[in-house]
Structures are given as C-alpha cells and as structure tokens.
Assembly symmetry: C2
Homo-oligomer: 223 residues x 2
Amino acid sequence: MLAALPRSQYLGLLDGLKSVALTFGEVLYEPGERILHVYFPNDSLVSLLTLVEGHRALEVGMVGREGMVGVPLALGMDVSPVRALVQGAGVALRMKSARFCEEIRKSPQLRQEVNRYTGALMAQVTQTAACNRFHVVEARLARWLLMTRDRVRSDEFRLTHEFLGHMLGVRRVGVTKAARALQGRKLISYSRGKIRILNSKGLERTSCTCYEIVRDMRDGVGK
Amino acid sequence: MLAALPRSQYLGLLDGLKSVALTFGEVLYEPGERILHVYFPNDSLVSLLTLVEGHRALEVGMVGREGMVGVPLALGMDVSPVRALVQGAGVALRMKSARFCEEIRKSPQLRQEVNRYTGALMAQVTQTAACNRFHVVEARLARWLLMTRDRVRSDEFRLTHEFLGHMLGVRRVGVTKAARALQGRKLISYSRGKIRILNSKGLERTSCTCYEIVRDMRDGVGK
DNA sequence: GCCCATCCGTGCGCTGGCGCACATACGATC
DNA sequence: GATCGTATGTGCGCCAGCGCACGGATGGGC
C-alpha cells in the first residue's frame, strides 16, 4: 500500500516505520482495546474477526500487502471493533499510532491512500457479510482459499480445519466435510494442517461469485 | 450529524444543502451506480442493503439523523457498493457530490465528523454481519424494530412482513412466524403493514445483545 | 355493499448446519 | 518404534430456515 505513495512521501515515513516479524496466531488487536500501532503487511496476512459471545469467530476482512491494519485510527477511533489475527506469518511495517495520526494530517497523499483503502475494506466487509449469510460452507471455503492464495502468493499454506472454522464461523466438522468434498474433486489436497491448491480454476468455479467481486473491487481501487 | 459542527461551518454549508422529501421505497443509490448526491437524514431513515444474485436483499446498515448517506464519496469512491433505500419517509438535506467533496477538503471539522461517522458505520456493518450469521430471525427482528424506533422516534411505523424479509435476508414467512411469536408475548402488535411496539424493554430482552452494542457504539461516537 | 389487491397464516417435505461423541491416523519426540 | 498430542473422519438426532403452495382476512375504492 505504501508503495503507491510518491517516493518522497514514502521516504519521509521511513523513520517512523519499523519492520517487524508477525508470527502465526499472533493477535494484533482485540475488540475494545486501544490501537497502539498500525501495520502495513508486506508478505504477511492478517484477518479481521468479529466476536459474538457464544459463537466462534467470524472473519469479516482480510488484509495483505494491498492494505493496512488499523484503519479505525485514521477515522478518529482509538479502539478496534475487531480482533486482528495474524493468519499468515511474515513481515510487516509497523508505526506508532500517534505518529501515524500525525503523518496522516501532514500528508494528503497518505490520507488519500488510506481513504481509498478504507472504502475498499468497507466494500469487502459488506460483501463478506452477505456471503456469510447466504452461501454454503463449501463455496465459502473455496473463496477463502483463493483469497488467501492471492495474498500470500503461494499455493500451499498451513492451517487446520479448526482454524478455518473460526474464519468461516462454522464447526470444525463443517470444514472437514467441505474440504473433503473439494479434495474428492482434486481441487485441493491437505493433510495435518497443510493445504495445497491443486486446481485454482476449478476452485473458482466452486466458490461463490463473491470471490471475483471482492477481487475486482480491490484491483479497481488501485492495487 | 451536521448539528455537531461549529455554527459557522454549518452556515457555510447551507447554500449547498437542499431540503428534500424522501418517500418510502425510494432508492437513492444502486450498487455500482455513481453517487450524485449525499444525504443527511433529518427525520427520515435510510437502509443500506447488499444484493447477492439469487437471494433477497440484506441490510448491513441503517442511517438516521446521526449519520449520512454517501460515505464512500468521502473515501474517494464515486460509486456505491450498496443499495440505499428509504425505509422511513421524511426530510433530508441533500448536497451535490462535487460540492460535498469540495467542502470536505476545505473543512477539517466536517472531514472529521464524516470520518468519525465512517468508523461508526463500519463497526455497525461488522456487528450486523455477525448478527445476520449467528442469530435467529426472532432476535434479529426484535433488534431491527428497536433500531428503527430509535431513529424515527416513534413506536409505530408502516412496514409489511415482505419488506422486513428483505431487511433481514429471510423469507416473508420467516418474518410472519417471528412476528407472531413476538405478538403472542405482547411485545408488539401489527396488522396490514402497521407495526407498533408495545413493550420495548421486553423486546430488548428478546433481541440479541447486538442491539445494545450497536447503540452504544453510536452514542460513544458522539451523538 | 361488493370486489379485489394486498397482507397475513399455515402446512409440507427438504436440507444445511448444529452439538455431541467417539473412531482413526499421522508425526514428532523420547 | 512405542507414546501421546494433534488433526481428521464419521455418525446421530435435532432444528431453523428454505421453497412452494394455498387458504383466510382486511381494508380501500367504486
């Protein structure tokens, strides 16, 4: 995301940015907690989850290098409404909240980039909401795998059915059943937490159109 | 929402604002269409709906006098990702998109107000997403009625079960069943499109906690 | 005072997902 | 290479919501 800024702007930010390693399962924010830093994922991947008591988590957004974690801060809120969970380990650039707020005041270009991303994220959340309401687990799982692949740029990643259940808001067993169906059609293969996409075209056909809609929104909004 | 601005700012906006009557069922935006105006509801009420082909509409947000319709514009998007449907007839102040973009550049206070509301809306959408996924129709209906009441400031309003189905993303019959249950417990009464809330405390107990969460978020964010 | 459009009530069979519980299978570790 | 924790497979009864279809009621208009 920062790459979209004019070079001079980017250089000005550099001394406020610290490169940090995000590890799988790390929680960057909990709902209701103050936001201390914002993150610009490089090759890492962060999930935004809502928590409703008595239910498992539900993913409402996914942030990779195209975006940032901590959008609410740019909107003048200092607490996060969601849990931000590192779902793909990797590197991110981190900035202190105060510094970020200052930069955003000083730089209209940064402001604009953040705004554009906020809009895209909002649209993603909206689409995901409808998807979670209407589509069956198998289609949603397919969509989720494709979205993840797009962001980590790899056909293989490590996640258990249990974990996926918390993304899709369903039971582990529901994931197992859907995953088995996909495996049966040779679209994916998996074993003990390692998932590999075998046939992404086929997956796209199985997934709901939400996949393309979200992808095109993001691309439309300029990287 | 505009009322939160300093008086001088507000006066500066006045000549760009036109008071318009919104009629029930009027569509302000369709998904993918250009946003021509933004609206600041006064006593009117606007629903934001996602459309997924093959399914009925699903409400993701509700805008009353506390907010505005057309947030994406402030984020640099000129098309709406949602349908904006007038759900409660009444008056709103309207401004042309170009003028709004200009004003927002000129006035940091307006910018800030809009940002704050954007954050609140985002949180609302997020919460609604989880609610729509996890909670049963009866609880969601209760929540919806309460939220509507808070915005129109009246215990009675006109809407059919069919219409409510499109808000909650369920069949008309599903609404009928839930509404009947609520009526049986003397929480509401209704007949031919006229709904009246009889016992709002009781409704709150039936509704999911999402109601309070969304309400408190909004109040927390000033106004 | 009748008619008709609209709104509401009910029934039926079906399916996806739920909670719960237990059976297998792999792999790291000692 | 036996052990144990974690990951995956399967089964069962249950229920909310679905699509479809039709019957009943109410009120506005002529």
